[in-house]
């Protein structure tokens, strides 16, 4: 009895040290991950000349909120944010819809080519998205899609679809047949089964697919910069690029626009942190 007690004391001490080490490691990693962002925000509130000091962080002589005003107005923040939300929102809806339909057709319907079609659609996962930049540019130009919403929407949907389909087929497989059988008895058509019975049951997986699609495309930049030219449809990452030219001699404003561009995603992430974490984990482990 007493021996057991002694080990207990020992182990609590040991545990404390261990716990302390754990904390140090975790905090260190956290600092590495987050410090550059703090640095960014810090200097975005200073004046440009204060950049050239030696300190790691500075206390600005006067907090320059004006940097953010400039970034907000000249960076077309609201317009680009609206575009980003619109394009990504549409992409998410389309990916979810198309992947549910295709997944259902490939897993539940009876036809010879179902396996082949699914494999072909999944092929997209292996294709490097940037290899299609050149030919797609040519195609969109020829049919007049450059500088329109479609120029981004089509590739965004196309390259998120394989993953969406992959996840959806997995989830659909796990839905018991019995539910559908009952519906068929009641005289439901396939479309009603897909959209009124299956889709509601897929809610968690829809969330996963939506989150993955959103994360993949929200920050996409290469295609946006190649296919778009006027401000009308430009997305958020553009402000940063425009500002490095427009305000090449004003670093503080460049920092402000970077912080501002990063803000919406970071804020949404912090609010929805639990759901997003779950979604990513589910999507990534399965996909």
């Amino acid at each position: 009895m007493s021996k057991k007690e002694k080990t207990k004391v020992d182990s609590t001490l040991l545990q404390r040290i261990k716990k302390g080490c754990l904390w140090i490691v975790l905090i260190l990693v956290a600092v590495i991950q987050i410090f550059p962002l703090i640095w960014l925000v810090d200097f975005s509130l200073a004046s440009s000349t204060e950049m050239f000091t030696n300190g790691l962080l500075i206390i600005p002589e006067k907090i320059q909120w004006g940097n953010y005003v400039t970034a907000f107005v000249d960076g077309h923040f609201l317009l680009y944010l609206k575009n980003s939300i619109l394009i990504n929102g549409l992409a998410v809806i389309l990916v979810v819809l198309i992947s549910i339909m295709a997944a259902y057709a490939c897993r539940r319907m009876r036809w010879k080519l179902s396996g082949l079609v699914k494999t072909i659609l999944l092929l997209g996962m292996m294709i490097p998205i940037h290899a299609t930049l050149l030919p797609n540019y040519k195609i969109y130009n020829t049919i007049g899609l450059t500088d329109t919403l479609w120029a981004l929407l089509i590739p965004y949907v196309a390259f998120s679809l394989p993953q969406g389909l992959f996840l959806m087929t997995g989830f659909i497989d796990s839905i018991p047949w019995e539910l559908e059988e009952a519906a068929v008895m009641d005289g439901c058509g396939i479309y009603r089964i897909v959209f009124q019975i299956i889709t509601p049951m897929l809610k968690p997986s829809i969330a996963t697919v939506a989150i993955m699609t959103f994360l993949n495309n929200w920050n996409e930049f290469m295609m946006a910069s190649t296919y778009l030219s006027s401000e009308k449809w430009k997305t958020l990452p553009f402000s940063v690029l425009e500002f490095t030219g427009q305000y090449s001699s004003n670093y503080a404003v460049q920092f402000a626009v970077m912080a501002l561009t990063a803000a919406p995603a970071v804020i949404v992430y912090i609010i929805l942190n639990k759901h997003i974490t779950k979604g990513v984990a589910m999507g990534a482990v399965k996909g």
Binding site: I98, P237, T277
Partner: protein
């Protein structure tokens, strides 16, 4: 019932949108790439058919070789640096519990949701030898010299650090989920047997994580191969071609050097390499998930 489930028109209507998107956004451009890959099209004017000329040139194009080598270096960097760190952090985080666990998990993932455009420019400043954060930190520790983080020897590693930093949260999260999925009974059994954390980690955690590790390693290699945006914005492939990557190179060739045909030839080879590597990795790991 059977009839209902084999109605050709219904099937057709359900898969049609997916097929259309695939054909229009993936298949058609690839076919066009194959076509232009056989021409000397500059981007304007006439395209002349030149057979395999582009592919022959590509065989001894040292920049393209360098791009592939860089992808390999990057993949090794991911696997040898990012992933061990991520697994260990995930294992440590798993032991923490409570609110702090959620807090750290959240913090680690934040860089991941930020646009590459922001990340690349931010790191340009961080790396600046004269007023960048990194050299300022070194100065705070008493180091007086100015380190050139983008010297030809270091540039690729500097790019790697940015990518590791940016993608750390993602990798960590997946390992973390994997660890969470391990049956706690196993750990209890281990602690009853008197196993210390080391034994537990190497005997239980790692082996059970094998499928997760395989997925993560596959993804790391493929993302190393597909790398473009960070490099495009951070170094543009330079200095020289020390940080060149295939995607960036084909973009440069087509839109900077007026070699649209050649750029497409690179694209075709690039796609083939990606497919081969993906299939190869799946074979190696005998991943039967993709049927």
């Amino acid at each position: 019932m059977k009839k209902l489930y084999s109605n050709k028109w219904v099937i057709f209507s359900l898969v049609l949108p997916g097929i259309l998107v695939f054909v229009f956004a993936i298949l058609a451009p690839i076919c066009l790439s194959v076509y232009y890959g056989f021409t000397d099209y500059s981007g304007m004017g006439e395209a002349n058919f030149i057979g395999l000329e582009n592919y022959k040139n590509l065989m001894h194009d040292s920049s393209f070789g360098r791009a592939l080598l860089n992808s390999l270096l990057l993949a090794i960097g991911f696997i040898c640096i990012q992933h061990p760190l991520a697994i260990v952090t995930a294992a440590v985080l798993d032991k923490l519990g409570g609110r702090a666990e959620g807090f750290f998990r959240c913090v680690y993932f934040i860089p991941n949701v930020i646009s590459v455009a922001v990340i690349a420019y931010l790191w340009k400043f961080i790396y600046n030898p004269d007023f960048g954060l990194l050299n300022n930190i070194l100065k705070a520790f008493g180091y007086e010299g100015k380190i050139n983080w983008f010297s030809p020897q270091m540039a690729i590693w500097s790019v790697l650090i940015v990518l590791i930093w940016h993608g750390f949260g993602w990798g960590m999260l997946i390992y973390y989920t994997g660890i969470k999925n391990i049956d706690p009974v196993l750990y209890e059994a281990a602690s009853i047997d008197g196993a210390d954390w080391k034994t537990t980690f190497f005997r239980i955690t790692l082996p059970l994580m094998k499928p997760v590790i395989q997925i993560n390693v596959t993804m790391a290699i493929i993302s190393a191969l597909k790398q473009m945006e960070t490099v495009y914005l951070l170094t543009g492939g330079g200095p020289g071609d020390t940080t060149q990557f295939a995607a960036n190179y084909l973009y440069q060739q087509a839109f900077k050097a007026f070699k649209y045909g050649y750029g497409n030839a690179i694209g075709v080879v690039f796609i083939l390499i990606c497919i081969l590597v993906t299939v190869g990795l799946n074979k190696i790991f005998q991943n039967k998930d993709i049927d």
